[in-house]
Symmetry: C2
Subunit: 226 residues, 2 copies
Amino acid sequence: MTRDAGSPDSDGLKTPRTTLQRTPDRGSHDWDTIAAILDEGMICHIAFEAEGQPYAIPTIYGRDGRTLYIHGSPASRMLRSLAEGVPMCVAVTLVDGLILARSVFHHSMNFRSVVILGTARPVEDEAEKLRGLEVITDHLLRGRWQDARTPNDRELKVTSVLRMEIDEASAKVRPGGVADEAADMDFPVWAGRLPLALVPGEPETDPDVAAEHAVPQYVRDYKRSQ
Amino acid sequence: MTRDAGSPDSDGLKTPRTTLQRTPDRGSHDWDTIAAILDEGMICHIAFEAEGQPYAIPTIYGRDGRTLYIHGSPASRMLRSLAEGVPMCVAVTLVDGLILARSVFHHSMNFRSVVILGTARPVEDEAEKLRGLEVITDHLLRGRWQDARTPNDRELKVTSVLRMEIDEASAKVRPGGVADEAADMDFPVWAGRLPLALVPGEPETDPDVAAEHAVPQYVRDYKRSQ
């Protein structure tokens, strides 16, 4: 596949900085692909610089259309830095499996990832702040916001919410199985794919919960992966 | 817990930049804690800056004592930037569960994460390059290096290996269950913990593998989480 053919650019998300140089056949700027990865992911890693040092810090997030919300303590170095509008990068990566080829060289991973470049700004409006927290909460667990006790004024005051527009982004996807060299096909070793997924265990009820509050359907049916 | 008491500094990994400011009771500079998280993790996210833009890029890695190895194509923007010795940050994050409190405010995640600051340098020595690739391969799947066809000269030439010393690092761990305000304990909602783990599915044998090569023990017994 040629370098130019690999990156559908139907959604205006492609820029020179988000154009995949090396493996364009694995790259995409298609909004639906990007949105699906963001929705399945649970945490992101945010890159930013402070005093000449780049940091990569994990945090949860939520998406409302093409707006990404993050939140945290106003005292957090990351939140304070990002609120100033410094350049940032958000990465979301889903691990789907190990590709165990005959040659070490062709070992690989099945993964889906998104990288977003841009800047954030603080959400000051109280209604949008609540909306951002709803988006983040329901991103972790759809239905939870409606059930739990929503933030009061004091809690809102000590929570920073930032928004970032998703308008420069790319996705990278490595699907499929083993791809060995023809010369290695008879090498005496097993080869194949080992699928991996983030899977929930049994819900553990807090000991102080009254017996009439059963485990909600949205917890029992929780499923992260496709 | 006071700010100073929270961060054991037995291993020289603590600096002002890796000292956890906000939640020191969740922080640690203990080498064994850091090493265990690095060993259980599968991918890291690396933050670096290129042309004024910070990036967070996922990649696999391996650890040999206090040396971290990463690899990739010599054409990769990340590898080329890091080989110049620019400041970088490596983050490894394990997601262990959702904490579903009665209040949205006290929702949280069980996680374990490590952040390493430093610089990398290219591995030029061929023996160390092979050693780095062995460390990365066996980090993904212990035992695989011994079984698979190891890299030849041509493959080594088109693979960059970088090493980074782990001497400025911190871990952050959020264990435990729900911690709600006393005033919320009677709020009419279920609360608890939903454990999460990266779990392998059934190995899928490549269709061209000869029948005498059974799925290896290290694939059948694969286990990432504790």
